[in-house]
C-alpha cells in the first residue's frame, strides 16, 4: 500500500496542507492506518523534488505550504491507478515463517499450532464482521468493501489451516530443504 500515491490521490481533488493530507488520509483509511505527520512532510518533499506536486498559495497556520498536483503528478497518478497490482504475493504475517520452522522443529507435528491459529482466525473474522457492520452503519461503503476483502482473505487463511490439519497433508512427510 502506497503512501506516495495516497497523497497524490488526495491532492487531485484540491490543494492541501500537510496536516490536512494526514487527516484526510487517516479518515479515508477509516483508522486502519495511522501515519505520522513527519512521514507526510517527507513524502510531500520528495514528491516536490520529483516534480509531481508543487506548493501553492499562502502559508497555513503552522507556516506550512499547501501543495497541488503538477501535470506530471496527474499523469503519474493516472498511470498508477490504471496498473494492476502485479508484484509478488505479500505474505508478511508470522504464521508463514512459524509454519516453516515448526515443520523442522516439531517434525511434522503441527496440530496444536494449527488449532491455535485457526481460533485466532475465527476471532478475527468476528472482529472484521463487527468492523464491516460499523462501516455500513456509518455509510462508508468504500471501507466496507475493503473490510470485505479482509474477511475473504481471513476465510482463505482458515481454509488453509483446515487443509493443513486434514489427514492428507498430515500424513505427508515434510521435506524441509
Amino acid at each position: 500500500m502506497s503512501l506516495k500515491y495516497g497523497v497524490l490521490g488526495l491532492l487531485k481533488g484540491e490543494p492541501l496542507h500537510g496536516y490536512e493530507v494526514k487527516n484526510r488520509f487517516e479518515a479515508m483509511l477509516g483508522g486502519t492506518w495511522e501515519v505520522n505527520i513527519g512521514q507526510i512532510y517527507t513524502t510531500l518533499q520528495r514528491l516536490e523534488r520529483d516534480g509531481l506536486v508543487r506548493p501553492v498559495g499562502a502559508r497555513g497556520d503552522r507556516g506550512k505550504l499547501a501543495y497541488e498536483l503538477s501535470p506530471d503528478g496527474h499523469k503519474a497518478l493516472e498511470q498508477w491507478l490504471a496498473e494492476p497490482d502485479s508484484g509478488p504475493q505479500q505474505l508478511h504475517e508470522d504464521i508463514y515463517v512459524k509454519l516453516l520452522l515448526a515443520t523442522r522443529i516439531a517434525n511434522g507435528g503441527l496440530q496444536p499450532m494449527l488449532a491455535r491459529q485457526k481460533r485466532a482466525y475465527l476471532q478475527r473474522l468476528r472482529d472484521l464482521n463487527r468492523l464491516e457492520e460499523r462501516a455500513r452503519r456509518d455509510g462508508r461503503l468504500d471501507l466496507a468493501r475493503l473490510i470485505r476483502g479482509a474477511l475473504l482473505h481471513t476465510e482463505a487463511d482458515l481454509k488453509w489451516m483446515d487443509e493443513l490439519s486434514s489427514e492428507r497433508f498430515g500424513a505427508e512427510a515434510a521435506k524441509t530443504e
Partner: protein
Amino acid sequence: MKELVRLTDVTKVYQGGITGALNGVSLAVEKGEFTAIMGPSGSGKSTMLNLVAGLDRPTSGSVSVSGTDLGKLGETGLARFRRDHIGFVFQFFYLLPNLTALENVLIPAQLKGDGSTGRGRELLEKLGIADVADRYPARLSGGQQQRVAVARALINNPTLLLADEPTGALDTHTGEQVMELLGDLHREGQTILLVTHDAKLATRHAARVISVMDGKIVDDARLASPERAPSEVIRMRSEEKLR
C-alpha cells in the same frame, strides 16, 4: 444459564460406508446460545443436528433436549417431541409444492390440532413476506422460500431452532439476509444450532463455533465481541521505500 441440549459420548455408525459417522461426541448447549457447527462434508456435522432433532437415533450414547432423553422416546413420542420442541430449516427449503406459502407455514400447527391462521400471517409479516402468503413455492424466489421455511420452523414456538446450511442454496446477498433473520431471532432469545460452511456468516452471528472433523469435535471456540479500534483489526502499511 440453563442447559438445553446435551450429547453424551454419542456414536453413530452407518452401514456400507456412508459418511457422516460420529465417534464419541459430547456437547452441551445452553438456552439462548447461537452456536455454529462447522466442518468439511462428511465430517458428521449434519448427523449431529439430525440426532438433536430426533430425526435419527445414535448407535450409542445419549441425546437429551430440554431435559428429555430422546433415547427413551418411542417413534410416536419422538414425533411429538419434534413437533413441540424443534424447528428445522433445511438447505433446500422442502416446502410442499401444492400448498401456498401460508399453508406450508401452518402445517406443524395443524399437526398439533391448531387450525388458526393468525400466527402464520404474523410470522410471514415479521419475516417480510406477507405479500406472498397465497403464492405457491414455485412462484417464490429462493430467499422467499427459505423465509417461508423459517416461518414454518417457528410456528410452534420451538425450544430449539436447527438450521442445516440454510444459506447453501442462496446467493451471497440473500444468504446474508436469511442469516440476519436468524440473528434477529437469536437476539429475541431463540436458541439456534446452525450447520454451515461459511465461516464469515457463522462468526458474524454465532459467538460459539464448534469444529467437527472425522466424526469428532476438534475445537469449541467461544468468540469475544469487544469493541476494537479499526487498527487493532486491520493494519494497512506502507512497504514502500522512500527514494
